[in-house]
């Protein structure tokens, strides 16, 4: 039991490191692609080692704790945000065999854990003893608490359709087709709402008010430097990965290859591609979508942000839940 735990711990840490390296690099390259430029090209071929160099720089930086900060909470916040990101990773199925904890309440669990992220952001902002940090933290709190509702409701719609809270069961229900194909309108609406709302929960553009550079320097992590700052950045990317993985699992079949119907030739061809590749492909597709948003939309104002959630997304997702329930009861999905 202890050995299993150790193996899991080591692989999760490795995953964190790899994801951090890959996603930061990807972000830069996608940004460059969108803006018709090359991006990092100097360190290694096509700048592959750029993130490594950045990491070395971050590690060697001085760790500053501002005067008047609450030291205990200031140090706790980046730790907490990483721990929470790790916890949310547990019930996600990476392939048909790779799953850390096959929980029967997986979807609910991820929703619960991701609602804790806001605490670490609030703590970091408050402990910094800096007005920009505090404003950033407050904005972030208001934003996350609001958009959590839509995320939760779109999850509920998918849970209704698939009839289970367990990720592996949900993947198995998509053997004949992914939910995005067979779930009709509710699934599409839920997918869109989920992507929009979880982008907001991640505090990413166009919802990056908590760290709006032009107004708040860097929001809740203004005062952080060195490795603690790196932890915040890292967990932001991990969270992005988790959100994309959840979306991929619920809507795009997770590790399930592209199937249509039962046991036909097309399905067998698709089965030759290993599940892990399917999973990674879908996740990175959605990550790409989220990065795409960043370079396409301008930042919202705080009132627009709250209007979007409370006046549009929330009513839409409430009605959507009803529609999903109706479809489930009548059995209209395939």
């Amino acid at each position: 039991m202890i050995i299993t735990a150790l193996i899991i711990a080591i692989s999760v840490i490795t995953l964190f490191a790899v994801l951090g390296l890959v996603l930061v690099y990807m972000e830069r390259k996608v940004a460059a692609f969108m803006q018709i430029r090359l991006g990092p090209m100097r360190v290694g071929p096509w700048g592959i080692a750029q993130t490594l160099a950045d990491t070395v720089k971050l590690i060697s930086k001085e760790d500053i704790i501002p005067n008047g900060a609450d030291k205990f909470l200031f140090n706790l916040a980046p730790l907490m945000v990483t721990v929470i990101a790790t916890l949310a990773l547990a019930p996600l199925p990476f392939s048909d065999k790779w799953i850390i904890w096959d929980s029967n309440v997986g979807v609910f669990y991820v929703a619960a854990i991701s609602s804790l992220t806001v605490i670490s952001i609030l703590t970091g902002g408050w402990a910094s003893n800096n007005k920009y940090s505090l404003i950033g933290a407050m904005r972030s709190g208001a934003q996350i608490v609001s958009y959590e509702l839509s995320v939760g409701l779109s999850l509920v719609a998918m849970v209704l359709l698939s009839g289970s809270l367990s990720f592996s069961d949900i993947v198995m229900t998509q053997q004949d087709a992914w939910w995005i194909f067979k779930g009709h309108l509710p699934a599409w609406i839920a997918f869109m709402v989920f992507i929009i709302a979880s982008t907001a929960e991640l505090n990413r553009n166009p919802f990056d008010l908590p760290e709006a550079e032009s107004e708040l320097t860097a929001g809740f992590h203004t005062e952080y430097s060195g490795m603690k700052f790196a932890l915040f950045m890292l967990s932001e990317y991990i969270n992005m990965f988790i959100v994309s993985a959840v979306a991929a699992t619920l809507f795009l079949g997770g590790w399930m290859p592209l199937h249509f119907g039962q046991d036909n030739f097309f399905n067998h061809i698709m089965d030759y591609i290993p599940p892990l590749v399917w999973f990674a492909g879908k996740v990175f597709f959605i990550i790409f979508l989220i990065m795409w948003f960043r370079w396409t939309f301008p930042r919202l104002r705080i009132d627009q942000l709250l209007t979007l959630e409370w006046k549009y997304l929330l009513p839409i997702s409430l009605i959507n839940v009803l529609a999903a329930a109706w479809i489930t009861v009548t059995g209209w999905h395939f």
Partner: protein, 170 residues
């Protein structure tokens, strides 16, 4: 292994609980409260009652503690230390908690507790949901609906108290 984890979490619950009430910084107290409720959730997970554990996380950690933190952030002067307890209050607190502890220990130690027999089988979420909305077989639909009205009333109450009318409107 389970026993070790159980004791670790129990110690965490107790320690963080004590820190919650003794901390003189209100924000820290809230964070210790968070650690307490998360440890309680961990105990539920340890007992393999995952649904209850997740409910604990959603309601207490994700809901109530966040609410408290917001309230702290909105409060003026939340960064300063709370005034220290005087001798009188300390004595009174100890007397009260001591009495409470004695009474509870007296009651609890007097009970014969027998270890439960058989395995605990977690009810499936479907069963819980069905039971909540069941009309006949010992279902909980009446309290469920009653609570929905309570929440409606609470929401309306909050809005009424928070709503501001501009002077020109009246």
């Amino acid at each position: 292994m389970k026993a070790i984890l159980f004791y670790i979490f129990s110690v965490l619950i107790l320690a963080c609980g004590i820190f919650t009430v003794t901390s003189r910084k209100i924000y820290r107290a809230a964070i210790f409260l968070l650690l307490t409720v998360v440890s309680v959730a961990a105990l539920y997970f340890l007992m393999e009652y995952t649904f209850l554990g997740v409910v604990q996380l959603v309601i207490y950690a994700g809901g109530i503690v966040v609410l408290i933190l917001f309230a702290v952030l909105l409060t003026h002067d939340s960064g300063s230390l709370l005034p220290p307890l005087g001798v009188k209050r300390t004595v009174a607190t100890f007397a009260l908690t001591g009495t409470g502890l004695t009474v509870f220990l007296y009651t609890i130690l007097g009970r014969k507790v027998e270890p439960g027999s058989g395995e605990f089988n977690e009810p499936s979420v479907k069963m819980i949901g069905g039971q909540l909305l069941d009309l006949y077989n010992f279902g909980f639909v009446l309290p469920f609906e009653a609570i929905s009205i309570l929440l409606l009333a609470a929401m309306v109450g909050c809005i009424v108290l928070a709503m501001k009318f501009s002077k020109t409107m009246n």
